[in-house]
Symmetry: C2
Subunit: 411 residues, 2 copies
């Protein structure tokens, strides 16, 4: 795009965006004593846009956020995020708890309760310990900090089985204007495409209308956070939230088209893709980041469906963990993906090694395959030979670690 420049900001955090502050506290939801409640706040009201899980059992915070966003997407001040309890499958009580959390934050910050969103992550089917949550909210509200370290601490406070925080930020430079897009995400298990990936908060000082914010978020999420899978389990809580406080000295974007909009989407995609890949790389028990690209498809949707089928195959994932170039499992997973496939037109590569060509084994060089599988990032490419469309999804391998973590998650 002419004149557009994206500058990656090293060590970015949600507070890298001017006007955003953050705080995190340990309020006792987690028995470990680790920080478990985070607050991201902008004194200047934000346009908000969010995408939610498509799971029928939507958690209370999802139902609450959806309702307040539907009423007014123009006047948000922040989001309270707790880890340790998902507040999902908790009925009417759960919804009251989400509401009370937002109301308490609003009261403590001198803004309306409806201007505060909430997110929860952790065990399903357990009620929030509201005394702890409410005192945590108060404490967080009184310790807001615009510094980078406060942002980093927030990204750590929302982790569950994540082994590290996920953060990214870029500066978007277009002719005559500049602004920031920053984000953080959490999630390592119960991760599956289709807006069911995790919790993600994106902040920007760009100036957007709610419709433009929603359009850009949808477009960027489709190729990033909705293209990552760890275990095929779509959570009850997953939410990606964009808060735009409009503080940058740039013209208002009021249409989801044109070069200024395209630049914003590109910036958003860069941050969201960074976070998506970090989610896959830090998948529960993961030892490898796996990038699956399906090309030569009749449509992007079919390419993505086939790529997801490969990325979700337990047999592909365990083979990668075992560093076994069992490429037949890749073909097998493409074959049951549900799209139309002509085996005799299909080629499969592991890295740059073409294992399968036009329906039959080809350059099956086990030594070279072992070298490729010893690397930390593995690329699988499938060409369907049926068209021009392609899609990429990210996943990780399936290891003993995954079983360990999930056999005893609550204990």
């Amino acid at each position: 795009m002419s004149g557009l420049r994206l500058e990656r900001i090293l060590e970015g955090a949600v507070t890298t965006t001017p006007g955003f502050e953050a705080a995190s506290v340990a309020c006792g939801i987690r028995s470990t004593g680790a920080p478990d409640l985070a607050l991201v706040f902008s004194r200047r009201p934000c346009v908000g846009a969010a995408l939610f899980t498509t799971n029928a059992f939507k958690a209370a915070p999802v139902l609450y956020d959806r309702a307040v966003l539907a009423r007014n997407a123009n006047a948000f001040h922040g989001v309270v995020i707790n880890a340790g309890c998902a507040n999902a499958c908790t009925g009417a009580q759960g919804l009251r708890d989400s509401q009370a959390t937002a109301a308490a934050a609003g009261a403590a910050l001198g803004v309306s309760g409806e201007s505060i969103l909430v997110m929860s992550t952790g065990v399903i089917g357990v009620h929030l310990p509201m005394d702890k949550v409410l005192s945590g909210v108060k404490q967080a509200a009184s310790s807001l900090d615009p510094g980078i370290e406060a942002g980093h601490a927030t990204a750590r406070a929302i982790m569950t089985t994540d082994t590290r925080p996920k953060e990214s930020a870029v500066r978007v430079l277009t002719p005559g204007a500049a602004y920031t897009i920053a984000g953080m995400a959490k999630g390592a298990g119960m991760i599956h495409p289709n807006m069911a990936t995790m919790l993600c908060v994106l902040t920007t000082d760009a100036r957007l209308t709610p419709d433009v914010a929603h359009a850009a978020l949808t477009q960027a999420t489709e190729v990033s956070l909705n293209a990552v899978t760890v275990d095929g389990d779509m959570s009850t809580n997953d939410t990606v939230l964009l808060l735009a406080n409009g503080q940058a000295d740039v013209p208002l974007m009021d249409a989801a088209s044109g070069s200024r909009y395209a630049a914003f989407v590109e910036g958003l995609m860069a941050v969201a893709t960074d976070l998506a890949k970090e989610l896959a790389r830090d998948g529960e028990g993961a030892t490898r980041l796996v990038e699956v690209t399906v090309r030569g498809a009749r449509s992007r949707a079919e390419a993505k469906q086939a790529a997801k089928s490969v990325a979700n195959s337990l047999l592909v994932k365990t083979a990668i963990y075992g560093q076994d170039a069992n490429w037949g499992r890749i073909a097998c997973a493409v074959g049951y993906s549900g799209i139309e496939v002509d085996p005799e037109r299909v080629n499969i590569w592991l890295g740059d090694l073409e294992l399968f060509r036009l329906g039959a084994p080809y350059d099956v060089n086990e030594a070279r395959a072992s070298e490729i599988l010893a690397q930390k990032e593995i690329a699988i490419t499938v060409d369907l030979g049926a068209g021009d469309a392609q899609a990429t999804v990210w996943t990780c391998d399936l290891s003993h670690g995954y079983v360990d973590i999930n056999a005893h998650y609550r204990t």
Copy 2:
């Protein structure tokens, strides 16, 4: 059904059915020296019916069988089954190998090559070692035996990662007639519903037309072998084959209706369900058999879709392995199953313990849940509160053993 009696035959094998003989040999496809080639044969020609994997990458034996069955479903004498090599993703060469295997068996047995079916299981993408296969076929043809031990040996020879053979047989007694239905199956991984489960051979001396055989097989498979999942990976090779030699002194069944047909389907279901449950119980790394029943659905298809979603959830399966009553994961998996669900009408039981009622936690008795999860067979029941239909599927837990087996399957 009036007058129908099913008698289970203890220690049944495919050779329990009169007129069927079997042989198994070690021809060297497997490096371990274990038996790896089996032959099931009837001198009297059989009506044949088969259901195959829906995977687009159909293995050569599937393509071969489908072709010969389409030409003539009335004159089969048997099936050659090899373990150790799936002959899948092997192109034109693979198809020639399947054909040559059948032709060699036909020649050795004095019947036409086209009257012999073939099945293969094992590694994908590797060609059959035809010298070994052809000498194995000859050896098997010369050692056919109608005895029960020969049947048992055959069920063992077709195993791959199975830890034990799967066999079942019943005697169907209807007014004025009696016949036998017996079967064997193999499969422990790459197992997923939708006719993608495994290799299964069913023998009967009932007298059927090809159409009736196909109808009965389809009906019985839907609620048994197509209702089992281990890992959600649908294989390239899966085949269930029914051979009916018509040797019993019973009238010909020439319509897929009426009480005689219903009796046959019931017998077939009994054998196929036994085998299906054995497949799940012996799933790779399994420590538990899990029976998931979804009831109160608007249709059987929706009930089955929701039940499969629960049965395929890695998080449900790892929680059962860890004996953790993390029932929220069951709700979550129902929620992303793709059917319409009203959370406030849903009830969930673990065994007889009602954990979730009408959208909220109910009798969460952790002590009782632990007792239930300590058992070898776990029942999960979900009532959707939306209708009268129901479906049951079987699966197993997901353990370290699964990862062990599949990380290094080829080595």
